[in-house]
Amino acid sequence: MEDEINIIRDNIKEFSSKNLDEKDIESKGIDNDLIEKLSSQGIINSNVSSKYGGLELDKKASMAIIEEVSKYSPSVALYAYISGIYIKSIENSEIEDISADIASGKKTAAVSFSNKNDGDKIYDVFFIKGNDALAVINNDLFYVSGTYEVRESLGFRGIKFGDLKVETKKKIGNSESFIKALKYMDPELCAMSIGLMYGSMEKAFEYSKIRKLFNTKIKDFGPVAYTISDIMSKLDIIKYYLYGNGRIDFAKNFISSIIIDVTRAAVNIHGGYGFFTDFGIEKYYRDSVTLKSLGFMNIKRELSDSIYGEKSGFI
């Protein structure tokens, strides 16, 4: 199984290095051509049922794919994650057939990540194009359509972000199906986070080997080398939780504790250059804080409930 996953990783790495230029994706977005490629490579349909044209890959394979993609393009990885949530959320609902179009790339997924809604407005939607989304409104799950008001996103700029002024809405289930979908995609969320952290650290690692200050390669300075080594060792522990013993809650908690520090360290190691888009490192920092807001807000509660085996830490 490990060999198969390694082959998948190699294939995705090769595809990503050739097709996923995050700087380009952040400025132009994810176009139709790329979405079709993501489908044909199994990036947005790896864990989708074959009846919808998915690959039905093992969960670990699906995680490995999203992890490798995230090293190159966190925006594409996030889109794969959103697609997974979308498809899982509408399972057994009256709009279940849309899954096939999402998996094939004919239609794009859009999801609201907040429970906030204000009259006819749905907030905090990540989308690629179109005029519809999935949103939880007052404990029910709705398929809504309307007009988007796009906002500038702090992270994942390859994906559009904004609020949707709702014109029509159809109830397709309850909030539980959306929450279950989020839970189902937690391993992919963690894998995406690990990929994002590795992506930033690998750049810092390579940079530290060539950048010289005071006539010395910066990798030879303790604070630089030890920071990178320390982070690399921590990432390996998270991978063990994720791929080894399957403690997703432990992985999630660990990620939540270090993800911003990791990407921040990667920027620091690049010095002044790290502050500029051209060097392709600051995006990981922006993405990490956005990702934390998206999927990790309740991890402390989730973990303590799991450790105590009952509701805890709610005061």
């Binding site: 702090l154 604070p223 002044g272 807001s293 402390k300």
Partner: protein
Amino acid sequence: MFEEYDDFRKKVKEFALENFTDDNIRKYDKDEIYPEELRKKGINSAIDMTNPIKIVIGIEELCRVDAGLGISVTTPYFGNEVINLFGNDAQKKILSDVMSGKKILGLGVTEPSGGSDVAGIKTTAVKSGNKYIINGSKIFITNGSIADYILVLARTSNESKRHLGLSVFLVDTKSKGFSASKLHGKLGVRATDTAELKFNNLEVDESMLVGEEGMGFYYIMIFFDISRVYVAAQALGIAEGAFDAMMKYVKSNNIKDENTMFEIAKLYTRIQAAKLLTYNATMNLVNSVTKPEDTSAAKAYAGETAVYAAEKALEVTGLSGYKYNLDIVFRNAKIMEIWEGTTDVENLIIARTLLKGD
């Protein structure tokens, strides 16, 4: 501390709230344009360069509302202390135009190959008659493409010790051989002007040599010991602004869980510590006390506090943070750990100064 300046603080705050509107903050950040009209408005109202306390309070209150705009309107004087301390009468005449707001000054130290390694600069200034010929380049220079004058650190001789043989020149940016390319795509403080400078056989009269030849490294180090206090004030303002936004969110959403309470307490305490360090370093300036360890401690701690505050505020507000411009605050804060010496450099200064004192 500094209660006697409360009226001035209030005046600056009012200026910032009136002029750094959400629309302006977003516009200048998005378009990456320097807010020249706001700079002019700030002269004689929010900007008072007459003493370090007023400079620190001004920077703090402006950056509390928005660091991109706050830094933009307070940096046109950047480097003035070098001329003030070491310059001749002709240079001080130029400086008077800078201090009155008629001209803009910049300081060119960092080079593409150098970063924190000030002694390793490669730009040269070769004496030829009564002129110096400057060749080389500088990068990440604040005010680089809008400045009327730039103070340039260049190598005037090769000495066995690298920090020797450096000199500072006051260069008119209209001079032949000077070119500046504005750099785009910064993570934050995008309203500020940042440029790459090139000097191609640029001739500068020897009267524009600041102080003594070969003393440039020392002048710049003394300058950094002053300017880092002002960066600490920028960082302090950013941290306070993030805290303000977080409190507004927590109050308006009636959040009362203990975890959030603890985050508020920790952040408040940390900001107070950053404030004390910054104000202590400010008093060193007022009293002409040279203590680089205090300056670097203030800059490093306040810089990290700005980043910490922005991260925590976003953690508490989540995706709602944009409503309070916390996405911009987060992007602005990061530079506080980088410019005017990275946190690693500040730590080295603190440790080396303390060890030297034994």
